[in-house]
């Protein structure tokens, strides 16, 4: 009897494999967007010795390929989630990649946005290009490492694997932040490194507690055993440590002091990648943990409180900021607080609102940091910039209106969704969060309108010359993202429906467990 069982199982699996060979092959290709950039990053330096031209092309090429593979997989395999056991070792022992629509969406976003904000593309004046040529291979390799680690964060289904990818993303971002080699960038990097490394220590302690309580770090298995083992204060402590640890990159409240310094000193495209992309993937990890492992209401409340504190501190600091990059940085802290509040709402509504606000922030804040590439001075210096760059100024107004939440734009629908969700929740904490969001919106409107007004004032004669219009590539990217925003705002109903399907799939814990530990159908029958 015991002998027959594995044979039956084997035949069943074999049969499935034969029928679905192409599907399995396509599904397995999902590891390539993680592996290929990693490989390319380490080949970059030798290749640059042979041909600088090929080395420059390698990064965009690999990212395009990665985007194509993910799109292809998504279309071929269909909307149902699937899991891939790395190296053929099955789930509880080996590492799995879990790809549902949310993971695929963010993995695709990583490829596309790294490509759009590729540090080497459309570099500035000719005099910069010569100096840039020496640094280019190193910087490109770091950007590829960041893309690889971020894709891994979206796909991985094992907590320790996620931790390793998180560290990889951290180290790559340290290198990118200090890429221009100025003294202040070194200091900002060092402070960022200390905060980030201490966050990782806290996350590691959280992981140790989790392992002590459950004996596993596979997310699907954790989801199975969590209801018995992780209730009560110990589970909550583990969640708090993981939240604060992964919250460093997600710009969540206590450990976000690095944000304004780093975004004020790093190249604007790197700021766009860190604020837009990496923060969202850290949030994604926290959300996966919240949905699968920590289902107690206290965990959501903790996220809500950190979110409210982030919204208030971020928006008020942005109101006081006097230069454009730091204004965007503080506003980014506020927006990510809003993401945290949205994800803390119960059920599908919360996941829907959270995903929508995360995507909205990804599009808008990346584009704004792209515009800040040449507008990195104080706010006074922006006076009259609309005259030199009317299109960039127009795009700024569009993004600002959507960030504030002015009715026809996507930002309005998202804020509405969050507010309705909070009112339905109805607890005093929810209502407090509602008040905080309304207050923050007023503050946000004030400082963004102040910048917009300044852009359209008549230029001060001696200052107008100093301020160059944003580079053509950055304006082009901002155009593209603005077009995305307008299209989504027009097609708001289908977008929300698609996101609702995605949110239902993400919130389904049983689906996650069943996908990672498939029941052998042939044997059952």
């Amino acid at each position: 009897m015991t002998l027959e069982l594995p044979v039956d199982l084997l035949f069943g699996l074999n049969l499935d494999l034969n029928l679905d060979l192409t599907r399995v092959m396509t599904a397995n290709a999902i590891v390539l967007p993680v592996v290929l950039p990693l490989l390319a990053a380490f080949l970059m330096q030798p290749l640059a010795q042979v041909s600088r031209f090929l080395a420059r092309l390698l990064g965009p090429l690999v990212l395009t390929l990665g985007a194509w593979i993910i799109l292809n997989t998504w279309l071929e395999v269909g909307p149902a989630p699937f899991s891939v056991a790395i190296g053929g070792f099955a789930a509880p022992l080996g590492i799995v990649f879990y790809a549902d629509q949310l993971a695929l969406l963010f993995a695709l976003a990583v490829q596309v946005f790294t490509l759009l904000f590729w540090p080497g593309l459309g570099a500035g004046a000719k005099s910069e290009v010569a100096a840039d040529r020496q640094r280019a291979p190193r910087r490109d390799a770091l950007a590829l490492l960041l893309a690889s680690a971020a894709t891994g964060l979206a796909l991985s289904g094992d907590l320790f694997n996620i931790f390793v990818f998180y560290e990889l993303a951290a180290v790559a971002s340290f290198g990118l932040v200090c890429a221009d080699g100025s003294g202040r960038a070194w200091i900002a990097t060092l402070r960022y490194l200390f905060i980030s490394a201490f966050g990782s220590v806290l996350a590691l302690v959280g992981i140790a507690i989790l392992y002590l309580q459950t004996g596993t770090l596979n997310l699907a298995q954790l989801a199975q055993v969590a209801p018995e083992t992780l209730q009560g204060p110990i589970g909550l402590a583990a969640f708090a440590l993981l939240l604060i640890g992964f919250g460093v990159k997600a710009e969540l409240f206590p450990l976000n002091a690095w944000v304004p310094e780093v975004y004020a000193t790093a190249p604007a495209r790197v700021s766009a990648l860190l604020a837009g992309l990496v923060s969202k993937l850290a949030i994604l990890v926290i959300v996966r943990l919240l949905i699968l492992v920590f289902q107690q209401p206290e965990a959501s409340q903790l996220l809500l409180v950190l979110g409210v504190l982030g919204v208030l501190t971020g928006e008020f600091s942005a109101w006081r900021a006097q230069d454009f990059p730091r204004l965007l940085a503080f506003s980014s802290i506020g927006q990510l607080g809003l993401v945290a509040i949205a994800f803390s709402i119960d059920g599908t509504t919360g996941i829907l609102a959270g995903t929508a606000v995360a995507l909205h922030h990804l599009i808008v804040k990346s584009a704004l940091f792209g515009l800040a590439n040449r507008w990195s001075g104080g706010l006074d210096a922006l006076t009259g910039a609309a005259k030199g760059a009317p299109r960039a100024a127009g795009l700024f107004v569009l993004f600002a209106l959507s960030l504030i939440g002015v009715p026809p734009l996507w930002g309005f629908w998202i804020k509405l969704l969050i507010m309705v969700g909070l009112v339905q929740g109805g607890s005093p904490l929810d209502l407090l969060a509602l008040g905080a969001i309304l207050l923050a919106t007023a503050v946000e409107a004030h400082y963004l309108f102040r910048v917009a007004l300044r852009l359209y004032q008549p230029p001060v004669p001696d200052r107008a010359l100093r301020l160059a219009p944003p580079a053509r590539w950055d304006t082009g990217v901002a155009y593209l993202l603005g077009a995305c925003l307008v299209v989504i705002s027009v097609a708001i109903t289908p977008t929300t429906e698609a996101l609702r399907v995605l949110a239902q799939q993400t919130g389904d814990v049983l689906l996650y467990i069943d996908t990672v530990f498939p029941q052998p159908l042939a044997y059952k029958e």
């Binding site: 390793v164 200091i187 060092l190 490194l193 220590v201 140790a208």
Partner: protein
């Protein structure tokens, strides 16, 4: 009263190391001490991780080692902690490299001084006024006289204690 076993002491030690490291990061202003505090916190986390696989009286999980049927320690945390140690060493090495660059650029490792300079440089690059000091007088009132020990401290920002 918790019985004072080896396990309890080890757990307390591991958590204590993390706490001491965290406090050190917050309290110290010298960058190298902050780095040492970070290293301490990291070893605390690693110790905690490896303790999760510990069993009293168990032997190393190697096939053919020790008597058959004897309890084994959990090998997985040992693998995990190996990865964590390697990551930690990498990050600390990077921190030392950046620290050297900072020292070469500014000639000091005092966090407050460096932070003040960074804020000033960011403000200068953006063409805005540098953030004011909390001690600076608002109006035209003269500053109180600087005590002698303060003058000595300000002239030598990097002190080598115990050197």
């Amino acid at each position: 009263m918790i019985p004072l076993s080896l396990e309890t002491v080890s757990y307390a030690g591991a958590i204590g190391l993390v706490v001491i490291g965290g406090l050190g990061l917050v309290i110290c202003n010298h960058l190298f001490r902050m780095l040492l505090a970070l290293a301490m916190a990291e070893s605390g986390a690693n110790l905690l991780l490896v303790l999760t696989g510990f069993r009293d009286g168990a032997i190393a999980p190697i096939i053919g080692y020790g008597p058959a049927g004897a309890p084994l320690v959990d090998p997985l945390p040992q693998v995990l902690v190996l990865t964590a140690i390697v990551i930690g060493v990498g990050v600390q090495a990077l921190a030392v490299a950046v620290l050297v660059r900072v020292y070469r650029s500014y000639g000091t490792l005092d966090m407050r001084e460096l932070r003040r300079r960074m804020e000033g440089e960011i403000a200068a690059a953006a063409g805005i006024a540098a953030p004011g000091s909390a001690q600076a007088p608002l109006g035209q009132r003269p500053l109180p006289p600087v005590p002698d020990y303060e003058l000595v401290r300000r002239s030598a920002p990097v002190r080598e204690r115990g050197a």
